[in-house]
């Protein structure tokens, strides 16, 4: 009886008695969700266009952030460092396409997945070799990102919104909107969608696979850079960031592997669900349930809607 009260009644009582904490939790969940969806966006881009699940997205985030901070530490002014990093990500996209994707055209998905593992290892070693293993501070203020917080009083308590989180939410929404427009309205976007459907068919229609892949990996690199800046500004730039990339998987499940708006919506649902679950129901189970709550949410979702909210229906034929 007490257990039922604890599960079904007490959390809502808590929510009502401290509404400022509820709003704060919702905000934190929103911010976390937006950050997860930024990572998921990189996955979606590459999956949509080349059918590859890019496990190296996490390390690309770290690599982009480290390159930016590395350039800055060598005396390059902040905006020039940003431009140089974008150039480096383009170079990376070019190298990946030339050396990894071109020889593996039309191989089964799991082989390409494995190849991105190899890329991850390579980038970890290369990044540590060039930049060292020390954690670095992200140059948020030099890039013009705001510091400090917006606080407002509410219902006996206060809610504090970090300005950098607000900036992250805005930047993420802008990116999603821009990418969605890009995929729907432009010629290159249509070609990307064609390549996602079938490599062979796209080739036979005359679409240059190499050109498309370089573009899409470059776009993913830009998303990785934005993610790295946002995450780095929140804590610090180190190789521990790479582990967070796994959190993007439940987001992808929820939103669908091939949907850009799905990445944001899925991200927000997972982020908010995770934080609310951890804050109000976590202490019942021993706390720390954040690590698996997102996956369980995704799993339950999968049982009812296997392709995610916005994904394409999987049709199996014999």
């Amino acid at each position: 009886m007490h257990l039922i009260y604890q599960i079904f009644v007490d959390p809502f009582v808590q929510m009502g008695s401290a509404p400022d904490l509820l709003v704060q939790t919702l905000w934190e969940g929103l911010v976390a969700g937006v950050l997860y969806s930024l990572i998921a966006l990189g996955f979606v881009l590459i999956f949509k266009a080349s059918g590859v699940f890019n496990f190296a997205q996490g390390i690309m985030v770290v690599f982009a952030a480290l390159t930016l901070v590395g350039f800055y530490e060598h005396g390059v002014p902040a905006y020039l460092a940003l431009a140089l990093t974008i150039a480096v990500m383009f170079g990376l996209a070019f190298a990946v396409e030339r050396l990894m994707l071109r020889p593996l055209v039309n191989q089964p998905d799991i082989i390409l997945f494995m190849a991105t593992f190899g890329l991850t290892y390579f980038l970890i070693g290369f990044g540590e070799l060039v930049f060292g293993g020390d954690p670095k501070v992200m140059i948020a203020s030099q890039l013009g990102l705001p510091k400090g917080a917006v606080e407002f009083k509410m219902a006996g308590g206060f809610v504090s919104l970090q300005k950098i989180d607000i900036a992250a939410a805005i930047i993420a929404s802008v990116m999603v909107a821009a990418l969605a427009v890009f995929f729907q309205k432009t010629r290159v976007g249509r070609a990307l969608r064609a390549v996602a459907d079938s490599h062979k068919a796209a080739l036979s229609v005359g679409i240059s696979l190499e050109y498309i892949w370089v573009i899409v990996w470059f776009a993913a690199g830009l998303v990785a850079l934005a993610t790295g800046i946002m995450w780095g500004a929140r804590s610090e730039v180190s190789f521990a960031l790479e582990i967070i990339a796994l959190k993007a998987l439940p987001v992808l499940i929820l939103g669908g592997f091939t949907s850009i708006p799905g990445a944001i919506i899925g991200g927000v649902i997972i982020g908010v669900g995770e934080k609310i679950g951890e804050f109000y129901w976590g202490p019942l189970l021993g706390s720390g349930i954040e690590t698996w709550l997102a996956y369980v949410i995704a799993l339950v979702f999968l049982l009812f809607r296997p392709q995610g909210l916005f994904g394409e229906r999987i049709i199996e034929r014999i």
Binding site: M114, L129, G133, L249
Partner: protein
């Protein structure tokens, strides 16, 4: 010239259908077993046995387990680390509750606990396929990792949260704990791994293996010809988790000597998955080859510079080793996407017609 079946006549059906029809194959296995049982313990130094051979055998067993699930049945699983952890913790609880019983019995019994957990987390496989199933197994991985850290019952409520392996003996010789010698532990691991590989080989060459492969190739068609999908898939999860559980128990009891929950995290799952993919999906030989490449090659790479006398700092060696491994993985996949086992098969075919080219 040497690898031909010329002159080897089979006189009854069972001989004709045997797994290794060629005499040369059987001689080859015999030589490998001889090297493993006699040569390595006699001539290998402590580092080789303790830090290379024992872990290699443990990882090969886990790779066989994952190969049965992913390679033969086509169900991608990322929960291998957690299932190994279940086996290890089950063995620990069993031996602390019943210290008098022989530890080998508990190592094998812990596999059954792992199998039970595997079946529970394999239930979604009926609705979910392909990559999405991997996410379901990731849920298992993170949930079980959380259990090992946050539920104190698993580590007998001790203060540090880590489990220590007590000393257990077999025929009076200690085989676990700090006093066990390298050779004793090596023989135990070798015995268990050889026996379980033999069992796996029989499974995949028999009716059950064919059922699994049918499910992998096209499960709708398999269902149409009468294979019960639920039972087959759950059996695959059960057997695979059994192997992973035993491997986990061996990992803690024969290699590490103690364990903290961080040992069985998602990195271990990915590690075993790499071995299976590089070694070759759907091949037992591939599991061994993959384990050798992914586990032993980095160690070899780390010791080449000091061996050749090149003065590089250990941290730099570590970085370069990561780069080389990453590049090698991509290179292997480009050259032979079907894994090392396929290369081995091609090698045997070439050997068959040697010295002619085709």
């Amino acid at each position: 010239m040497f690898y031909r079946e010329v002159g080897q006549y089979k006189t009854n059906y069972s001989a004709d259908m045997s797994v290794m029809p060629l005499l040369q194959d059987r001689v080859g296995i015999g030589i490998i077993l001889f090297i493993a049982v006699v040569i390595i313990p006699s001539f290998g130094n402590a580092f080789f046995i303790q830090a290379i051979m024992i872990p290699f055998l443990v990882f090969s067993l886990a790779a066989i387990g994952l190969n049965l699930l992913t390679g033969y049945t086509g169900l991608l699983s990322l929960g291998t680390g957690a299932f190994m952890g279940v086996g290890a913790y089950a063995c620990y609880k069993l031996t602390t509750y019943f210290p008098g019983v022989n530890i080998l019995i508990w190592i094998v019994a812990s596999g059954f606990f792992s199998a039970a957990v595997g079946v529970v987390f394999g239930l979604p496989s009926l609705r979910i396929k392909g990559f999405y199933l991997a996410v379901a197994t990731l849920a298992a991985q993170f949930f079980l990792s959380w259990c090992f850290i946050r539920q104190p019952w698993f580590y007998n409520y001790n203060a540090s949260g880590a489990i220590e392996v007590p000393t257990r003996t077999l025929f009076g010789i200690p085989i676990t704990g700090a006093t066990a010698s390298d050779t004793a532990r090596y023989y135990v691991v070798l015995g268990v791994v050889v026996a379980m590989t033999w069992l796996a080989s029989n499974l995949v060459h028999g009716r059950i293996g064919r059922m699994w492969m049918a499910v992998r190739d096209m499960d709708l068609a398999a269902e149409l010809i009468g294979i019960r999908l639920l039972r087959t898939k759950l059996l695959a999860f059960a057997v695979s988790s059994f192997y992973c559980g035993v491997a986990g128990a061996l990992l803690v009891f024969q290699w590490y000597g103690s364990a903290e929950p961080a040992v069985f995290d998602v990195n271990l799952s990915f590690f075993i998955l790499f071995m299976v993919i590089i070694g070759g999906l759907g091949s037992l030989t591939g599991s061994y080859l993959g384990a050798a490449l992914i586990f032993i090659l980095p160690i070899v790479l780390r010791y080449i510079p000091p061996h050749l006398g090149i003065p590089i700092r250990p941290a730099t060696v570590d970085h370069i080793q990561y780069m080389i491994i990453g590049a090698l993985i991509v290179l292997f996949l480009i050259v032979e996407p079907n894994g090392l086992a396929r290369l081995w098969q091609i090698g045997k075919q070439k050997l068959r017609v040697w010295p002619f080219p085709y």
